[in-house]
């Protein structure tokens, strides 16, 4: 993730044009385009979706329909560290909900939210496929396993220290 990029409309359009040209004329590219936009801006700005809709002559309802269907797409900027707590079966029976509650309390946000300082976003996600290390969470690309509520908080605090350096 490149993080949140605040750009003027003109700069945004330049970025979008590049993405659109790459996919123009290729059927079934909506998801690829949206992924590319999100990678660039950290989320899907409404103006960006409208711009794609006009450029490719796809109804914006269709673009928003696809974007809102898949859990990977976000309409709000994310924190610097995106915490994805696994809520798969193995993690559930090993107490991941306790970890989730502790993280919500510790960060002072609910599931799906971002801390005021923009440092952390918290998401509950379906299985990350590391079931034998349950409960697990992924912070940006890194998986942390065998968590307890306390250990999960420690992990986040180590990211906080890193983020403030």
């Amino acid at each position: 993730m490149t993080g949140v990029v605040k750009e003027s409309t003109e700069e945004m359009q330049q970025v979008l044009d590049k993405i659109i040209e790459k996919y123009r004329g290729k059927p079934g590219s909506t998801i690829g385009i949206l992924s590319a936009i999100q990678e660039k801006f950290g989320y899907l700005p409404e103006e960006a979706m409208d711009y794609v809709s006009e450029s490719l002559n796809i109804p914006s309802a269709e673009i928003f329909g696809v974007a809102s269907f898949y859990s990977m797409f976000r309409f709000q900027p994310e924190g610097k560290y995106v915490v994805r707590l696994c809520r798969g079966t193995a993690c559930h029976v090993q107490g991941s909900w306790l970890v989730g509650e502790q993280l919500q309390r510790h960060l002072g946000i609910e599931e799906g939210g971002t801390t005021k300082d923009g440092l952390f976003s918290l998401h509950y996600v379906a299985c990350l496929g590391c079931c034998s290390l349950a409960p697990v969470m992924m912070v940006n690309g890194t998986v942390h396993g065998r968590l307890t509520p306390d250990k999960a908080v420690e992990v986040l605090e180590s990211y906080r220290r890193e983020g403030q350096e």
Partner: protein
């Protein structure tokens, strides 16, 4: 002198367990030596022992488990440099007794033949282990003969439905049209199943080779791997493998001089469980909302962009090259009845040896869980095993003699599914587990069918009510009634199987529902509204540990004085109980 080979398990699970610093330390200390080769390999399945380091020296193979930097220093000094293995850290050995020898010996590894053994980013290592020999053989056969071989092997879809693979191929071959697609369904979404991830990360060429053979058999030129975005390492390794296969002429035009053209590209999913369903998956590949449509027409006749399409799951495709190379009879000698070959299971939950195992079909559940999986940790009692993810069911101890084959498991009310096996012990609340699955399918329902969209929501509400202690005996009948209606009234597999976890738990664990409803008690002491934590003032020594750990400040007390929990503030996280040194805290 032969080189000493050191392999580090660097699949997602290994990295999560801390394999990266181990690997980097090895590189740092031994990377310059000409007599040592350090490799990254995939997951051998012994996830509970990770990080894993294998040392092959002077012709003998030893695997070390739970390796950290301290033990690694010892291994380098004693074994790698001086030839004396570090006995106490050995978990697997081909020359002496070792704790996990039995775990591996009980397995038959066809799908997992290379995972954890080869470096998945090097095609030569795959080639050394008979890689692409199945393809070479297939290209010399008539496409019909390839299909016959797969049919005769008895291979059935490993993604859950268990449809005969050869039959599916025949339909696709017979379908009219010059342009056809082979799709690998790598949208492994069942929580608790991770065999596809392991194969894609640890042996991507086996899947590519399977797709190639399928493409040749059905007459397709295009291959698509639909992989979920949650598996970044799998996508990375697939991309490397595809590139290498192109360079060596296994993908592209006129493959191995046969005149057969085939190429593969990867399509990343964007996070939707329902996309594992084949018609939803095709919609997603076409860039649309991943919503299922009625069948017929089946994908074999009308698939991606309206063209004939054959969709197989990762594990199914990983079997294909092996079957062609070794012959159908070699494959179908494993298994029972209509279930031939092997099945990979992901053991997780309350089990000692969590990880991946591949066993012949027909092995009883008990043997998989207790002999291969090592049973339940901490001396606890086995309560249930959940098979087949959110579409599957929970089976009690009385069903443990069920052989793992498609028909026997279906007869219990569960399904084989993709092979997730989540084991639960006495501390797991069955009603809570049913609620967990319902909340999963409810949020993953695409919303097309009212029964699935609204019905699962209503079922979830009833389960929430029961877990909150507000359920009535009539609720259980209502649950059952709704469950059958959702099964009948839904279009796709998600809705048709969504009620299975509730139906099987009602069938085998009705008493636990009744305890919640009639006595307002949670026997496993999980449901937060039905339990209370208290401190025994006579046992409490006033050490203050509990009040320090309490995340909500619900515990008060002076040092060396008995402490007290404010029940109205307590969130029932249980942390106080786990830190109490004198077991003064109880939950009722």
């Amino acid at each position: 002198m032969t080189k000493t080979v050191i392999k580090v398990g660097m699949a997602s699970c290994g990295i999560a367990a801390g394999a990266r610093p181990v690997y980097e330390y090895l590189l740092d200390k031994l990377g310059d030596r000409k007599d040592v080769e350090i490799k990254q390999v995939g997951c051998i399945g012994l996830c509970f022992r990770e990080p894993l380091v294998e040392v092959i020296k002077d012709g003998t193979r030893v695997m070390y488990g739970e390796v950290d930097i301290d033990s690694l220093e010892k291994i380098i000094e004693s074994h790698i440099l001086n030839g004396t293995p570090v006995e106490e850290k050995i978990i697997l050995s081909d020359s002496t007794e070792a704790p996990e020898n039995k775990t591996i010996d009980k397995q038959v590894r066809i799908v997992l033949r290379n995972t954890g053994i080869i470096d998945p980013t090097k095609i030569d290592e795959y080639l050394e282990r008979d890689g692409y020999k199945g393809l070479t053989k297939a290209l010399q056969m008539d496409p019909e003969a390839v299909i016959d071989e797969i049919l005769e092997s008895g291979l059935r879809g490993r993604g859950g439905a268990g449809f005969p693979t050869g039959l599916k191929w025949r339909f696709a071959r017979k379908a009219a049209g010059d342009e056809k697609y082979v799709v690998c369904n790598a949208d492994e979404g069942d929580p608790g199943a991770f065999m596809d991830r392991s194969v894609l990360e640890g042996d991507p060429h086996s899947v590519i080779e399977g797709m190639l053979i399928c493409g040749y058999a059905i007459g397709a030129k295009h291959g698509i791997i639909y992989c979920r975005a949650e598996y970044p390492l799998a996508i990375k390794h697939l991309n490397i493998a595809i590139e290498q296969a192109r360079e060596r002429g296994f993908l592209g035009k006129n493959i191995l001089g046969s005149g057969f053209d085939f190429d593969i590209y990867i399509k990343e999913g964007a996070g939707a469980f329902v996309c594992g369903e084949e018609t939803a998956l095709m919609a997603s590949i076409e860039g649309k909302r991943g919503m299922p449509r009625p069948r017929p027409p089946f994908p074999a006749n009308k698939g991606i962009f309206g063209k004939p399409t054959n969709i197989n799951n990762v594990e199914t495709l990983a079997n294909v090259a092996w079957i062609i190379l070794h012959g159908a009879s070699e494959f179908n000698k494993y298994g029972t009845g209509k279930s031939r070959g092997t099945k990979v299971f992901a053991l997780a939950g309350k089990i000692v040896k969590g990880g991946l195992v591949e066993v012949p079909m027909g092995m009883p559940l008990r043997e998989v869980i207790f002999d291969v999986g090592g049973g339940i940790p901490d001396g606890k009692e086995f309560k249930a095993v959940q098979l087949g993810g959110p579409s599957g069911g929970c089976l009690p101890a009385s069903e443990l003699d069920t052989p793992v084959d498609y028909e026997s498991i279906n007869a219990t009310g569960a399904i084989m599914g993709s092979g997730g096996m989540v084991v639960m012990d006495e501390d797991t609340c069955i009603v809570d587990v049913a609620k967990f699955f319902l909340s999963f399918v409810q949020s993953e329902s695409c919303g097309k069918c009212p029964f699935c969209r609204i019905g699962t929501k209503r079922m979830l509400e009833i389960l929430e009510r029961i877990c909150d202690g507000k359920g009535t005996p009539e609720d259980l009948d209502l649950l059952e009634d709704l469950a059958y209606k959702i099964k009948d009234g839904s279009l796709c597999g998600l809705g048709q199987t969504a009620p299975n976890p509730v139906l099987t738990t009602l069938k085998y664990f009705r008493h636990e529902y009744e305890a919640h409803v009639n006595e307002k008690k949670c026997p496993a002491k999980v449901c937060t509204n039905l339990i209370h934590y208290t401190i025994d003032p006579d046992t409490c020594i006033g050490c203050t540990k509990c009040s320090k750990v309490c995340p909500v400040g619900a515990i008060e007390g002076q040092i060396r004085q008995p402490h007290k929990i404010d029940d109205s503030v307590c969130v029932r996280c249980g942390q106080c109980k786990s830190v109490c040194p004198v077991k003064a805290i109880s939950v009722e």
